[in-house]
Subunit: 320 residues, 2 copies
Amino acid sequence: MSHDLIKNTLLGRLGNPMLNRLDDSAVFDINGRLAFTTDSYVVSPLFFPGGDIGKLAVCGTVNDLSMAGAEPLYLSLSLIIEEGFSLDQLERVIRSVQEAAAEAGVTVVTGDTKVVNRGAADSLFINTAGVGIVPADLDVSSSGARIGDKVILSGPIGDHGIALISQRERLTFESPVESDCAPLNTLVKEVLQTTPHIHCLRDPTRGGLASTLNEFAESSGVGVRIKEDKLPIKKTVLATCELMGFDPLYIANEGKLVAVVDSRDAEAVLQKIRENPYGREAEIIGEIVEDHSGRVIMETRLGTSRIIDLLSGELLPRIC
Amino acid sequence: MSHDLIKNTLLGRLGNPMLNRLDDSAVFDINGRLAFTTDSYVVSPLFFPGGDIGKLAVCGTVNDLSMAGAEPLYLSLSLIIEEGFSLDQLERVIRSVQEAAAEAGVTVVTGDTKVVNRGAADSLFINTAGVGIVPADLDVSSSGARIGDKVILSGPIGDHGIALISQRERLTFESPVESDCAPLNTLVKEVLQTTPHIHCLRDPTRGGLASTLNEFAESSGVGVRIKEDKLPIKKTVLATCELMGFDPLYIANEGKLVAVVDSRDAEAVLQKIRENPYGREAEIIGEIVEDHSGRVIMETRLGTSRIIDLLSGELLPRIC
């Protein structure tokens, strides 16, 4: 079955000269600084408003590479399939992989499939690893934030997590929340072309915006100060969070980025982000400060200050 | 839990400057031809004579890179952990990862952990992807075999599969079979230094020696002819195969290689392989022929000829 599955479903959709060789490794020329990343996807349900595990697996890895400033080039795709999993659903997932890879301009060059006995895995897990090229003079890292820098968020938070949880809990809304799952490599490229003074870049996935900002604060040894009234959040997302007792700051996103930028360039970067389809609702949400080093503080709408802690434990399991 | 797990268990054992940054991507300089590969490991049981899932995950990916002629450099490590999985066992697995990586001279530079609810995965799955550098003038591929070439096997077949199945079925032997799980990068390097005329190189894992030889025959458009009396097989492995109705040609190996070599260099390569601890029992097992293109034929001990077909379906599930 594995052999046929590979030949028909996988190569049929994803085939290219490198993958078609079916050698154990893909081989290609590279010169420069390589970014290398991996993620396993165990999202449940597999299909959700705005995406599925296949789209997520491509976008997640493309975005991890992009946040290192890299141009994503090649992906690996490894499937762990539960015996009895529907071939139709597998086809749908592979079609999503194909579409997302095409949009991001990346190629799946190597892969693996394992079938496990019924009950040994929940339907389908996917691992994607990826490689990309980082421009020679670039240095973005979560440790690069400097006092006075501005913090830019590319759009409303919480969509992915709330889309998932709504699907799981069978909540219905007048305007259903869709996952923001999207490849951000073009957006990142445009940002990096605007100014060399991008100090940190990260996609706030698991653990949400709060975790990303805490990483910046901790790694850079600075304080982060954000304003609640600047945070873009969709009404339905906010309402669902209130209903279910979630804080949107901790909800996963799969198509957003947070950039820490030299204050002189912040407006130009903001405008550039807003010109991209995935960045229309971008905002400058705060700044890097000398006070409360290692901590994130939010000025609330009420004018008070609130510490935004790193969450211990996972808020929503199997969100990606 | 994830956060502590990463900081203590994973970084404690595997820590290095790149991994410790905990950025989403590792970044390093590369110049040349890159080999890139991935494999997910779902082996059951996790611990078996001669290895465990951690050692297997490192060796498997190191070997996939090596078979492209690459020097393996960097690995990613992604864990899917079932909720409630023992931390002690996880520590043992990570220790094996550490030891195998040290022996192979590779570094784990990026990773991911996902915890799924109880029952959604069977204990622990691991994905490793890897990158390595291929010497500029090298061209090994399963399509490179030429008429007259010799086929060299680096040692006895079937040890990994039989070690696994014996553990599962609780068979006991006077001399228990251990998995041959081992990193072959040094052996490959030595082989490639002996002669530039290595045409194919592959590790006969899932599907065993039979599948590897069939790949060579099909991809190269040649016939492969092997001699049964030249095949190294341990007595206990042979006995277990007879007992359980398996053909050792189809049993997985995790520390063996098959090389197709220009006949003029075959003896020199054989001697070189035998000097390596993982190749002491190497043999020239056959040759590439013009007849029966695309097929593998074995001359049996009885003097008859037998077609060695590609196996349809998986003989032993979750062997790696």
